[in-house]
Amino acid sequence: MNKKRTLFIACEEANHNCDKTQYNEATIWEKIKLTFHLIYCKACREYSNNNAKLTELIKDPKIDCLKPKEKEKIKSCFEKELLEQD
């Protein structure tokens, strides 16, 4: 079934589009709908501002974490050591 193409969207969809925008994964149509929604919805405007701030904060200090495989490697070595300890 085709989705009805409307410019008016619910807050839930606006937040979803806003999240996707932070990762550059929103389509142009999603961005247009979001921009239009933000014109009249104060709560979503606030969420959108906070969301953008969060993205900026995370990018700025270049925070890092272990990749799943790296973590797994450390975990398996540590578990061996734990078993030996027991």
């Binding site: 979803h16 999240d19 906070n50 270049k62 925070i63 890092d64 540590f78």
Partner: protein, 184 residues
């Protein structure tokens, strides 16, 4: 009774990312950072009996890691000092500023305050991440910090794309309010 208990079975899940982020901002090399984190866990395991429970497990592990990082720099500096050859000296004279590196401005040079602030913010973000449910935190890290594709994460966790976006939304909302309390 001590305020904090020790439980090494959960160390990797709870503290490895925090310790890794702490280390990578200080050693700038991924492999070295991983080695130091691993050595810290091993050292923690060996000296578990010294844990008095006055500080949290994480604080205690960070104090071990700090010593590991200092040892690492001592080791590489002693090797580097022997092999160092300075070739960046200007022939024009031996006045102040003869070293070539002093003659150019470094636009990427950050002040000590900027570096401290970035390090503290990074740790605050990891602190807030540790408060999220494990799966939510893992998915958020993969998507936002490690930059994995939506499809790759969906395959790894066996979830749909819309599930992923719901999880990301919840994680972002919790993180924003946690950072607002602890940082902004």
């Amino acid at each position: 009774m001590p305020k904090h208990q020790i439980n090494p079975n959960k160390w990797i899940d709870l503290y490895s990312d925090y310790l890794f982020n702490y280390t990578i901002t200080r050693v700038k090399d991924r492999d070295t950072a991983q080695d130091l984190v691993q050595e810290t866990f091993f050292a923690g395991l060996k000296s578990m009996k010294n844990f008095k429970g006055e500080a949290s497990e994480r604080t205690w592990l960070v104090s071990i890691l700090k010593r590991k990082i200092i040892d690492h720099y001592r080791k590489i500096n002693s090797k580097k000092g022997k092999a160092e050859v300075r070739i960046n000296f200007s022939e024009d004279g031996d006045e102040d500023g003869s070293w070539l590196e002093k003659r150019v401005a470094d636009p990427f040079d950050k002040t000590a305050e900027d570096n401290i602030e970035n390090t503290e913010l990074g740790l605050a973000i990891h602190h807030c991440l540790s408060k999220l449910p494990a799966k939510q935190a893992e998915i958020f890290k993969m998507k936002t910090i490690l930059g994995y594709d939506t499809e790759a994460i969906c395959n790894e966790f066996d979830i749909t794309a819309s599930n992923l976006w719901v999880i990301i939304h919840r994680a972002r909302t919790s993180l924003a309010s946690c950072l607002e309390e602890n940082w902004l």
